[in-house]
Symmetry: C2
């Protein structure tokens, strides 16, 4: 990026295949389509809207269990539609891909519970069907109920999950990069050779958690390894990101903390021999825009008035219920009254504040560090500051209203960001589609050296597992 060329914004819509993803209570707003998530028409309309409107990608969150810590059960989550019911996120991508050519897809999948061989095949299939528009948001899962849906008594400890994830990716890299050569498939009709067998090999991975023979079932897809995305801010996560990630979805309690976290992530990339700009960093952003400030403030008020505090409390997996106590009771007393003083999560709570203050602070924290409410100009000013002052590369746009949030952004903010050179100009109707990796980095469809996945190309190093990831030694400095 040259000095006279402004940094370009990576623009993703934050989505989830459910009713209430993060803006709890707002599914009830007039004309909100969130209750249509079961309907293929919802996803087709959304995909067309985003592609025509200039979004780079839709970022699909996921969990594989119910939020059942708050009030000792899933009742609040169920009432709120809080990520339950929720459908599989992979399945909506082919439907959206069928009606688009440019839109990218970042999809969340956990390394903790399902075998790597079939997941490698699913993502290669998606990369083929989308012509290279897929990214994978690597998560290791955190809900206790998710673990119990897969035969475990409780969640796997945090650092163990990352070690397992590290081997999981090692298996996938062997399948995606090492099992098939680029010139293996020749589709020679005369000679009756679809694939040259010399270009395909078993991977014969045998590790601590997985044993996978291969060969990979899919021929090389446009990107081979999909864009590796990761959602993290923890020390173990940052070390993992330095090794694997091309895009990190992060956050923090202040903008300064986020900026320090970004530096830690880029330090971790360097520790792995990778350029600092080989990892893009995106944050969740809340943006309420109007033609006038009054119009924007009215929308914001509507969202505040309809927001559900209970939904947020359940989403936070609070081990106690602050709404069930007198306002003057302290958090510590409330915990004791519920017999939850020893709950593992209790140590993170401010035991000396009253539950009234606790709820007030909790509500106030909804307007996070990347939030702006205003006209297109003030919104664009904020985004430019996030890009230039805080060091982020892009946003996952939080939806208060579907499709209103995306429509507003497309109508009001995208033109302003284009004027400022922060988003590419409108594509020509016949613009050639690019892979997600090309859209994000402007380079090649394939992972570039020195990313560790490239070490398996041509079948090299398949007989040696990667050295285990050292976790925690590259903690964020912030």
């Amino acid at each position: 990026m040259s000095a006279d060329q402004p940094k370009r914004l990576i623009l993703n819509l934050f989505e989830m295949n459910c009713v209430s993803h993060i803006t709890h209570g707002l599914w009830r707003l007039p004309d909100n389509n969130r209750h249509r998530f079961n309907d293929i028409g919802y996803w087709i309309e959304l995909a067309k809207l985003l592609e025509d409107g200039g979004f780079d990608a839709v970022f699909l969150a996921d969990v594989t269990g119910a939020y059942d810590t708050f009030r000792d059960g899933p009742e609040t989550a169920l009432r709120e539609g809080l990520q339950i019911p929720s459908n599989d996120p992979l399945m909506v991508i082919p439907a959206m891909a069928a009606v688009t050519e440019h839109l990218g897809f970042g999809v969340t999948f956990s390394t903790s519970y399902e075998p790597p061989f079939s997941f490698a095949r699913r993502l290669s299939t998606l990369d083929h069907l989308t012509n290279g528009r897929v990214g994978w948001n690597v998560v290791t899962s955190y809900l206790p109920n998710a673990a119990r849906n897969f035969g475990l008594a409780d969640e796997i400890p945090h650092d163990d999950r990352y070690r397992k994830a590290d081997e999981y990716l090692d298996v996938l890299y062997k399948l995606w990069e090492g099992s098939w050569d680029d010139d293996a498939v020749i589709a020679d009709r005369v000679g009756n050779v679809y694939t040259r067998p010399e270009g395909v090999r078993y991977i014969n991975h045998v590790g601590e958690h997985f044993a996978v023979a291969g060969p990979h079932l899919c021929e090389p897809s446009p990107q081979r390894t999909p864009v590796i995305i990761q959602a993290t801010a923890s020390p173990a996560g940052v070390a993992f990101a330095g090794r694997h990630a091309e895009m990190v979805f992060t956050g923090g309690s202040t903008r300064e903390q986020v900026s320090r976290g970004i530096e830690s992530i880029k330090d971790a990339a360097e520790l792995n021999g990778r350029p600092r700009d080989s990892i893009k960093v995106v944050v969740q952003a809340g943006i309420v825009v109007g033609r006038t400030l009054e119009e924007a403030e009215q929308k914001r008020l509507l969202f505040e008035q309809n927001a559900s505090v209970e939904g947020r409390l359940a989403h936070a997996s609070l081990p106690f219920d602050p709404t069930a106590h007198e306002p003057s009771v302290t958090v510590g007393q409330a915990l004791a009254a519920e017999g939850k003083s020893e709950h593992p999560a209790a140590s993170f709570l401010p035991v000396d504040v009253t539950v009234a203050d606790f709820i007030r602070d909790f509500v106030a924290s909804w307007e996070d560090q990347f939030f702006v409410c205003g006209t297109p100009e003030t919104v664009a000013d904020s985004i430019e500051s996030w890009l230039d002052d805080d060091g982020i590369d892009g946003i996952n746009l939080r939806q208060y209203h579907s499709f209103g949030t995306a429509q507003d952004f497309i109508e009001l903010v995208v033109p302003e960001l284009r004027r400022r050179g922060r988003l590419p100009q409108r594509r020509a109707a016949d613009a050639a589609p690019r892979t997600l990796r090309e859209v994000l980095f402007g380079g090649e469809a394939r992972l570039q050296e020195p990313h560790i996945a490239t070490r398996y190309r041509g079948g090299a190093n398949l007989d040696s597992a990667l050295l285990p990831l050292e976790l925690g030694s590259r903690a964020p400095t912030g």
Copy 2:
């Protein structure tokens, strides 16, 4: 079915997300689209063709490993494009669903290697996205390489696989039928209740192979349990079918054997208290049709001339290579020369015949019992005989050429079968879509009693596992 109403044909296209599914060598024919299986456009075009042409469903086969027994490696399979490369079959369904309203989808998935919780969610998601057009072809896998892709040293013994499958389905029934009540989701915007928590429950399944807490993550889909399909002819498979299946995909070495197998399947249904007509039976059919007999015979000749014997030998997982020996050598001598006399599969081979005769018989067996080559009239005559004399309910149409086989059938055979009352008349453009179960059985979208899955409705019996399936005691009489 009244006596004066002819039996209606269930018409499925047999497909697989790969180059060469079963008609090896023919991917090379002019205008064959099979090499386009990676391209979403292939699936969109196919889906529209089948829906407009009057097909009931596309039946997607799958395997999760390479055919690497023949010649001790995957080389022949790779050269032939024999089910490798192959992509995930689940992923093409949303793309096809995005451009159709009526076409059904039968998809193959194995119970042997992946956790039931996430598969239950994937199928519920597909049932939502397709508006109830999904069936699941339950298989237990058979390729040794597939087992080695999932951490096992070799395939699970046949009957053990079926016992595991039985528990797998028990878990799925609990999630699909027992975890959510029909009136749980009320989407009450005023009261801020998306789901009534009283209508949702954990399943807390603890069995021999699986421990799954639930609740199911998806709200009830149009069919809840997708149409249960099964591909089998073995005694254990027939017992399993009697308990679970609504459609069985079967075969045999003679038409008489198939007819006896069908009776066994219906006997097995009765042993489970189910009506004999609660299981539909389909077979693979090879149909070559022309406007004249000469035109049909020319096509058949073209297919024979381009067929690959090596592809078929590799597909059959032959433990020796008959093409590598002098024609006069016996199969037994060839096995001995290759050191394969003790191979488990050797006991099924005719050791006394020469390899020349073995190959001749092997090639001749390609024209199986449900094969016809001729004019629309003679083809329709054969299909009527299969329906009325042999007792089948439908066919999975083998593709010699994609999309030529389906196009020929639609253009030439469908009108004739409609004239004879064997297929429904052309749908009105505004015909209301029906679920796959309604298309197949004409009744309700949901499974009907006394199918065992219904025992979990309303949360009943969730605390009791099904009694284990008794395998082999209900063997086919033939």
